[in-house]
Amino acid sequence: MQKILLAVDRFSTWVGQAFSWLIVALTLFVSWEVFSRYVLGAPHAWAFDVMTMLYGTMFMMAGAYTLSKNGHVRGDVLYGFFKPRTQAAIDLTLYIVFFIPGVVALAWAGYNYASDSWVINEHSNITADGPPIYPFKTVIPLAGAVLLLQGFVEIIRCIICLRQGYWPSREQDVEEVDVGKLKEMVHVKDEDIAQLDQYVVRAPK
């Protein structure tokens, strides 16, 4: 079971990470466009559309990746104080009540939305001769599908946790505040911090 869960995790992660490189493309593209507009005097009418497409595709496709790393923001007033079993029970209930209906609806609605767009061969109407927009709209059902898949994995995780009383493991990923890496970056060792303690103890209160 754990193998399947981790495999799906890996799939969501792979998809999310693949699409996250769009941020580099977005950075370089916008920088180039600014340079081209102000220095070369050659603005491109489609630049705005491409910008939104890069941004929208990136964050939508990273949704499942973020979920698989438990990265979506949670209200953490009480959650952290619950026992794992209580956490799992709450999560399981709310996944079924809110997540599954919401994401299924989004993916389904997105599918219809995108297929309409394909049928009429829709182009962006921001400029006169806009780029095609149906691939961008297709991102909604795709992102919804991956998210739904990841959601099922999370539900199974909740059930496992309810049974065994502790959360099944996840794969490691880069963290925003990785204390170990930061220590390494500024050359601080644990011994240094421990040594510092003597100053704290000695200091008059």
Partner: protein, 647 residues
């Protein structure tokens, strides 16, 4: 059961009881009451700890379906699906939110460029004579670094690793040091380019550019208040922050500087002497020339600036334009005069030759010749008048203010170079490689946004590119660094933007149910004055800051507050600044202050969480003072936007 759980559950119980009371109290239950119920339930659901984006999405969908169902049951499903997908697409193609991933990317890159160590060291050496120098340097390092990165956790952790040991070893009070680090680390929330202001701008429909311009001075003011507090405290109670020891201040001089010091300690004269004299011992000329170049940088910068100012002041565009117009006028008159005598293409040409050129080719040639002469004459006159104008332009004198400024700058430079010894040269070089690049990046990004040269997203992209270059300059542009930054950017922006998707579905349902109207009616019936309303709303936001994160507060509650603002004549821009300042306070308010936990994670074991909280309290007090100042003098925030955009 634990205290925290009791506290949380009783809060939830109060909320639910309030909802039940409201439903029972109402004469007839309308859909509007359902909207309020939804609002109460969503706070409860968020407090339970389920990912907020999906709580909002699911709840918005269910209640939105209720709203449509009460109107037309047959279409309800189709309508709610349409609403969801259109809301989602609106977030995907939102041109304000594009800036978020770009700024986040820039932040991660700058953080990983690893210049904070040098930045802190150079700043604290620069400030060595200021009372409480380490704490002051901490605040300034945090302000600059947090502004460029905007990541509270990383900044507090890094400063906890760098500045905290330095402060403790120097005999600083544990609490004061903790307060300076946590307070400084949170400055990035407020000082632009901050992600919070983008999210507020996108939610409330306020221009992000104006928000940035508005938040600039309040941010600087807050940092200034922190620094002022530390300096005053260090003066009053030196035992809390003893001055740095000689050892802590010493800067190791490179060998060339030690040898050249024989020529005198003053860097400029000594270097010049070393360059030409025989006393340069065995220091290579290239080293000396390079050091001289670095030494002369401030003078060169000021000279270039002054020349630029001089050129704009003495050759004002207006004067030249007027001159040009006059010249054109003269030339035009001359041409017209010549034309009437020469007879080329008079608009109603009676004897005009152009009408029948094939008949009289010779005549046409003659006319053309005359015309050429006339044009030449006109040209001569034109150049003469231009010359006159040019003479006049040169004669425009620079205003006295310029000469005064020149004198002051020269005097300052003189004093600067008199005091500029080799130790200071070393510090200056450190600043040059840590402080100035970062400051330049921030100023370039902010300046181009605020002065309207680029949209926030364009400036953010340029900033991210600058982050890449910065990382490259520090030799940290390798695959792992870029990869980590890219993945973290994707996760952070997915978190914020999916929350935005959920919240916009939610607020659409809330509006559909008519919850907004009920709230508006209720607030209006309270008969508050604008000041009371502002205070009440800020207190509510402050209290919400305990259980909820700033992202949640902005995307869920701003759509409720902002429509109320026009009733009380409150500027949404001003409200946004207050909210930003307020939510920043929430980062420092125990017991949920994230900054404290990050610092605790890297501090020595005997520093307790309570000590850190105690250290944060005075800074929280300063934030409340800052909010108060902004209330009393709104111009602190509104002056810059009003000057730049004529609000």
């Amino acid at each position: 059961m634990r205290k925290e759980l009791w506290f949380g559950f009783s809060l939830m119980a109060i909320l639910l009881a309030g909802c039940a009371f409201m439903l029972l109290q109402a004469a007839s239950i309308t859909t509007g009451h359902l909207g309020l119920l939804m609002l109460g339930l969503v706070v409860v659901a968020i407090m339970l700890g389920f990912p907020t984006a999906f709580t909002l999405m699911g709840m918005g969908m269910l209640f939105g379906w209720f709203a449509y169902q009460s109107v037309n049951p047959d279409l309800a499903v189709a309508q709610i699906l349409d609403l969801m997908v259109q809301r989602t697409y609106a977030v995907m193609s939102n041109d304000v939110l594009i800036a978020i991933p770009l700024f986040v990317f820039m932040g991660y890159l700058v953080e990983r460029a690893n210049l904070i160590e040098k930045l802190f060291r150079s700043l604290h050496l620069t400030m060595a004579r200021v009372p409480g120098s380490l704490a002051v340097a901490t605040i300034i390092t945090c302000a600059i670094f947090a502004t460029a990165t905007g990541i509270v956790g990383a900044v507090v952790t890094l400063m906890g690793l760098l500045a905290y040991p330095a402060m403790i070893k120097a005999g600083y009070n544990v609490k004061v040091g903790a307060g300076a680090i946590t307070a400084g680390g949170c400055l990035g929330i407020l000082i632009p380019p901050s992600v919070l202001l983008i999210v507020y701008g996108a939610t409330a429909g306020v221009s992000v550019v104006q928000l940035y311009a508005g938040a600039f001075f309040p941010g600087i003011m807050l940092a200034g208040l922190y620094v002022g507090y530390i300096i005053v405290l260090a003066k009053l109670k030196p035992s809390l922050m003893p001055p740095l020891s000689e050892e802590g201040r010493r800067v190791a001089l490179p060998s060339f500087a030690q040898r050249l010091s024989a020529n005198g300690d003053r860097a400029l004269t000594s270097l010049v002497r070393g360059l030409k004299g025989q006393r340069n011992a065995d220091v290579p000329a290239r080293t000396i020339a390079f050091q001289l170049g670095v030494t002369l940088l401030p003078a060169l910068t000021i000279a270039v600036l002054l020349v630029l100012v001089f050129r704009t002041v003495t050759a004002p565009a207006v004067v030249q334009d007027v001159g040009g117009l006059q010249a054109m006028g003269f030339a035009g008159d001359a041409e017209r005069f010549d034309q009437s005598s020469g007879g080329l293409a008079e608009p109603p040409p009676d004897e005009g030759t152009l009408q029948e050129p094939p008949v009289e080719p010779a005549n046409a040639a003659q006319v053309a010749e005359e015309a050429r002469i006339a044009a030449d004459k006109a040209l001569v006159q034109k150049t003469e008048s231009e010359k006159a104008v040019a003479d006049a332009a040169v004669r425009v004198d620079a205003p006295a203010a310029f000469w005064i400024a020149l004198a002051i700058c020269t005097a300052l430079l003189l004093i600067f170079y008199l005091k500029f010894n080799f130790v200071r040269l070393e510090i200056f070089k450190m600043l040059l490689s840590s402080f100035f690049p970062l400051a330049l990046l921030i100023i370039a990004v902010l300046g181009s946004i605020v002065f309207g040269l680029a949209t926030p997203s364009e400036a953010a992209a340029a900033g991210a590119l600058g982050g890449l270059l910065l990382a490259a300059a520090y030799g940290r542009l390798n695959y792992p660094v870029v990869r980590d930054s890219v993945f973290l950017t994707a996760k952070t922006s997915a978190m914020v933007c999916w929350l935005f998707v959920g919240a916009s579905i939610f607020s659409a349902s809330f509006a559909l149910l008519g919850g907004q109207e009920i709230i508006e009616k209720w607030v209006t019936s309270l008969g508050l004055t604008p000041i009371e309303f502002l205070l009440l709303s800020q207190v509510i936001i402050f209290i919400l800051g305990w259980p909820l994160e700033w992202t949640e507060i902005i995307v869920i509650f701003m759509p409720i507050f902002v429509p109320l603002l026009p009733q009380y004549g409150v500027d949404p821009l001003f409200f946004g600044l207050l909210v930003a300042l307020n939510l920043q306070t929430a980062f420092l308010s125990p017991p949920v202050a994230m900054a404290a936990f990050y610092l605790k994670g890297v501090s020595p074991p005997h520093v307790s969480l309570n000590q850190i909280f105690a250290g944060m309290l005075p800074f929280m007090g300063i934030q409340v003072i800052a909010i108060f100042l902004l209330y009393v003098f709104p111009q602190i925030g509104l002056w810059l936007p009003s000057v730049l955009y004529g609000r």
